[in-house]
């Protein structure tokens, strides 16, 4: 069984502080959905409202079409995986997994059988008799997933469950989580501040900042077509130029910046650019090129500050004429050395379809 989750005009307030502001999201059943945002943006608060540990101050949470108001966490068709996993240290591994069944009054033999099946699913067969403390970090992680799945939830909620693991294990668990989700076929709602996790695993990502949903889209769209200045600056790396819109033509905007006039795709968020607006132009380091006389829609003059060799990539940093922000260019190492030296004056170029212009707004903290 799987269910969709709908947040309908949800506001969550703690006194004066607004943790979630008019959130409207529809998470389809069977989907892997992520909330991505910096810490303190309100994503955990939203998750707690879905799991039932808190109630929204305004608006509705609907799971499978049913209004969840007044229904406690023990009665909702959700299961939550905590950031610190919160496994029961005084129970054996199989008892942890079978806890939800014990609650339902399932008999001992049946509980043990179900626990063994789930241990099989998470690739930890024959580990049921161990204590939780005897397991490694990744194994504990999988036991927490099995314990939540034993409750047969319609929606599984995950609150940054990978943050305690080391990098390698984290990358491995991403694939594992995605595979488990596809096997069990229920809705996963995943909370993270790690964009790599959100972009690789999710069907859809909601980017959040200061209690506001900035954009909901699939990972590609979030990266290539950000709706707001926050999304453009938070997801991936971006070079930014400030300016004023002089003209809108179709899907493109022309922005006058201190470094010259730039043509870029117009963002498609709620707030639309129109002539005279303050705007930011974003261009990814991998889309910024050395002009070398070729034809580019936009050109800027810059001085090389630093060149870093990263194996498969060169990262080059510039001081851009007419801008107080430095710019960054990354280029694939194709075996040839770079043609430029530090302190060289160079011309850089990028095309309008690789750049994006958004309304001026809050940026993600560096």
């Amino acid at each position: 069984m799987s269910a969709d989750v709908k947040l309908d005009q949800v506001w969550i307030r703690f006194g004066e502080f607004v943790a979630a502001r008019d959130v409207n999201i529809h998470i389809k059943e069977g989907e892997f959905f992520s909330f991505l945002g910096p810490s303190g943006c309100g994503k955990t608060t939203l998750l707690r409202a879905v799991s039932g540990f808190s109630e929204p101050s305004e608006g509705k949470v609907l799971i499978g079409g049913q209004d969840m108001a007044g229904i406690g966490p023990n009665k909702r068709p959700t299961a939550l995986i905590f950031q610190n996993l919160a496994l029961f240290p005084l129970m054996m591994v199989w008892e942890n997994i079978a806890f939800a069944l014990e609650v339902k009054g399932v008999g001992l033999a049946e509980r043990r059988k179900r626990a063994d099946e789930l241990l099989e699913l998470i690739a930890l067969p024959d580990q049921g008799e161990k204590m939780v403390s005897e397991l490694s970090g990744g194994q504990k992680q999988r036991v927490a997933i099995a314990r939540a799945l034993a409750a047969e939830p319609d929606v599984l909620l995950l609150d940054e469950p990978l943050s305690a693991l080391d990098l390698k294990l984290r990358q491995h668990m991403r694939t594992e989580l995605r595979a488990i989700q596809q096997r069990v076929g229920i809705t996963f709602i995943y909370i993270t501040h790690d964009q790599g996790e959100a972009l690789t695993m999710s069907d859809h990502v909601a980017v959040m900042s200061q209690g506001v949903i900035e954009q909901v889209a699939d990972g590609n769209t979030i990266y290539d077509q950000p709706d707001t200045a926050f999304v453009a600056s938070f997801v991936g790396e971006n070079n930014m130029f400030e300016g004023k819109v002089s003209e809108i033509s179709g899907d493109y905007a022309i922005v006058d910046t201190g470094s010259g006039q730039m043509r870029a795709r117009k963002s498609k968020g709620k707030e639309q650019l129109s002539p005279g607006d303050q705007a930011f132009v974003f261009i990814r380091p991998e889309s910024l090129k050395f002009a070398n006389g070729s034809d580019f829609d936009n050109r800027i003059k810059a001085k090389i500050l630093q060149q870093e060799f990263e194996g498969s990539f060169w990262q080059v940093f510039f001081d851009v004429e007419g801008s107080n922000r430095s710019a960054k260019l990354s280029t694939v190492n194709d075996g040839t050395t770079l043609a430029h030296q530090v302190d060289d004056q160079v011309e850089l170029g990028f095309n309008a379809n690789t750049a994006i212009a958004t309304p001026a707004g809050d940026l993600a903290a560096e």
Binding site: P73, N74, L80, F82, A86, F88, L90, A100, E102
Partner: protein, 307 residues
């Protein structure tokens, strides 16, 4: 071993190390080991007046322990029913009082640790502690007045018509049980509070999220975690209640004797220090065995209690 002492002296410096060593040794020897050894020795000797102590007349005997079980030779009863029944009732009542205290203190400790916040929690702790600034005797007398036939409780119950005439709380033991339960309540609350407080709140939420009703959360998650604290509190309350003197003396009814009162009588009224010692040793040994047994049953190690 030599290394250990060398390290000990280097870490603390010679003055502090010597002070610690001497004070701990003195405390252990003078306050704990020697008095108990004297008691043990006395309990196995005949009861003679002090001038004859150390003479031939002050020999070893088992008569005091036998007296506890069989009574005096002149008595017609085959067993010492009076002392044995008082002893049994004391232990039983102490168990009962301990159970009352667990039932009272666990919810309070849980509330303090996981529900109450900031100023309110501090206020509650103060409300628990401040009554214990009042002397133990005064507290016992206050209970006696409160539970008396014209005390506030009887007046209230008669006033609102629940009772036709005052109920004798003292003769029926209610005053004694209440007084004893209250006397050592802090020694139950704080160990449980410490244990419960160290429980990760997420575990409670996780259990709830998995569909658990509140009682199962306590049964499967909170109580197992708090078990060492509960045992520690029970041990202290049980031992102290079984050995209490003031509360039974003041709050006990005319017919209910506490075992410590018999020991007191032996020492101070009958002038029979030997029998008093023997009875004291019996009480101590019984309490110890009882506590160790309970710990065995609930699978608690001594080290966990001291944590």
């Amino acid at each position: 071993m030599v290394r250990y002492w060398q390290d000990f002296f280097r870490k603390n410096g010679p003055t502090l190390a010597l002070y610690l060593l001497i004070s701990v040794t003195c405390w252990m020897l003078l306050m704990i080991v020697l008095p108990q050894l004297f008691m043990l020795d006395f309990s196995f000797r005949t009861n003679v007046p002090p001038p004859q102590w150390g003479t031939e007349a002050h020999g070893y005997t088992l008569e005091h322990y036998q007296y506890m079980i069989y009574g005096s030779a002149q008595s017609t009863d085959s067993y010492n029913f009076v002392d044995l029944s008082v002893f049994g009732r004391t232990i039983l009542t102490a168990v009962f009082v301990t159970l009352i205290d667990v039932a009272l203190c666990y919810p309070v400790a849980y509330y303090l640790a996981h529900v109450a916040h900031g100023g309110w929690a501090r206020l509650m702790v103060m409300a628990l502690i401040i009554p214990f600034w009042v002397n133990e005797l005064l507290r016992a007398f206050a209970f006696k007045i409160m539970f008396g036939s014209t005390g506030i409780i009887n007046n209230f119950l008669v006033g609102i018509g629940i009772l036709d005439q005052p109920f004798d709380f003292i003769r029926n033991g209610v005053a004694l049980y209440s007084g004893l339960s209250y006397a050592y309540i802090l020694l139950m609350i704080f160990p449980i509070y410490n244990a419960v407080e160290s429980l990760d709140k997420n575990q409670i939420e996780a259990a709830r999220d998995l569909g658990s009703p509140w009682w199962r959360i306590h049964w499967r998650v909170v109580i197992p975690h708090a078990k060492p604290g509960i045992t520690s509190g029970c041990t202290m309350v049980f031992m102290l209640t079984a050995g209490a003197l003031a509360a039974p003396q003041i709050l006990g009814g005319p017919s209910s004797l506490w075992f410590t009162q018999i020991i007191y009588q032996a020492f101070n009224q009958a002038g029979n220090w030997a029998r008093g010692s023997a009875y004291g040793i019996i009480l101590l040994a019984t309490c110890l065995i009882f506590v160790l047994l309970v710990m065995k049953i609930f699978k608690i190690k001594l080290g966990e209690i001291a944590r």
